[in-house]
Symmetry: C2
Subunit: 236 residues, 2 copies
């Protein structure tokens, strides 16, 4: 197989750096196609650990500086993991995070990192939505993406029909209750709109609506920050 630079249509994706590759090997071994090392990197103690892990787990590997340079997201990357793309089964008993039409790859990566940080595992993406395997998203997630179950749906209604038992909390600037006053009843879905428009009015009919209080001197908190604060509060 000739490996090309990442492309939305390709069947494989990349993750970058020792820690993310370690998470990939630990959590998604069955998806790994190959691990590529930069020769110079093999002197680094973290990279050495990955090299050992790759051999132990009998993963295909290659030392190939050019391939690293072609596929890496940032300069000075010593190791790249190549893996088959996948979708996951969501856990119907766990709490979900729902992003409606997210556009920014970095935001989605940061959201995954915060989810894992605060003990959430299930991520719902309502289309149209950013490609979660885009290098910018994988890179911001810093390995945490391999701990997250994610699945795309064509519409929020489709998601809601399947996960009927989840209590919906939609985050809106004009939400009816302040986040600190809410007692989140499990299993719940925390729902967030996209970076520029937030959630459409129709979300008012799906469950409770929530706001995070902030000063009038900013339009809104940014998406990953709102999600981060919501996860922090809801995980308490």
């Amino acid at each position: 197989m000739k490996i090309k630079r990442y492309n939305k249509k390709s069947s494989y994706a990349f993750c970058f750096g020792s820690e993310p590759v370690k998470d990939l090997l630990k959590k998604k071994r069955e998806r790994v196609l190959k691990v590529v090392f930069k020769e110079e990197g093999l002197k680094d103690s973290n990279v050495k650990k990955i090299f050992k892990m790759v051999k132990e787990k009998k993963v295909d590997f290659e030392i190939n500086d050019r391939l690293i340079e072609k596929t890496a997201f940032k300069e000075n990357t010593y190791v790249v993991g190549i893996f088959e793309k996948y979708e996951c089964k969501l856990n119907e008993k766990k709490n979900h995070i729902v992003l409606v039409n997210p556009r920014n790859p970095r935001n989605i990566g940061t959201v995954m990192r915060n989810m894992v940080g605060f003990g959430f595992e299930d991520l719902v993406l309502i289309k149209p939505a950013v490609d979660i395997f885009q290098p910018g998203a994988v890179s911001s997630a810093m390995g945490s993406m391999f701990y997250v179950n994610f699945r795309y749906f064509d519409s929020f209604e489709e998601y809601k029909t399947i996960f009927k038992k989840h209590n919906i909390y939609s985050f809106m600037l004009d939400g009816e209750k302040e986040i600190a006053e809410i007692k989140f009843e499990e299993p719940f879905s925390l729902v967030f709109g996209n970076e520029s428009k937030g959630l459409a009015k129709k979300f008012k009919k799906y469950g409770k609506t929530v706001f995070i209080p902030h000063s009038k001197n900013i339009d809104s908190l940014n998406l990953s920050m709102s999600v981060g604060i919501a996860l922090y509060v809801a995980s308490k």
Copy 2:
């Protein structure tokens, strides 16, 4: 004056887009050198408002597509504000946010946006630190930088000598108390280390140390997220 692309040594900096330029004109009129418009942008209703504001406030302006293209941080920018760089006087009665050696311009921009969102106005930067006027920082701040008083110090000790009355809360992965248990006593300084290394051990002797609990499956929350959560909690 011939305007050049942003450079750390230049005496002026840029802000991008209607809302940030509006904030610049509102909060830092005395620093504004010029506002530049893209001809095509003058049809846009938000840009029209800025145009009106510029005339009312007797600000120097120019319609110059090439200058916009040369100085703008993102494509499709209709308006750029050019302003003299400045430093601010910190308010000694207010609570401060202290970033020790921050490196990432976007983080610092997001921190400013969150500060304004949660009612904080005073930002301390301990050198070596990112240049706050870098386009990436100004752009992430989305106008909120003009609401923030910021000042650079050569060392934390220098800052502490001047602001003796501030109670220090240093955020460290191995902090002694969980954030939810802390009663922040005003005036306080919330202190954060840099993106990769956090705070040095010496911060344990300066005041209280605090941690934000998170799962072991991530190394740490990212800097702007930690600050955002701390601001949210401390502002309650």
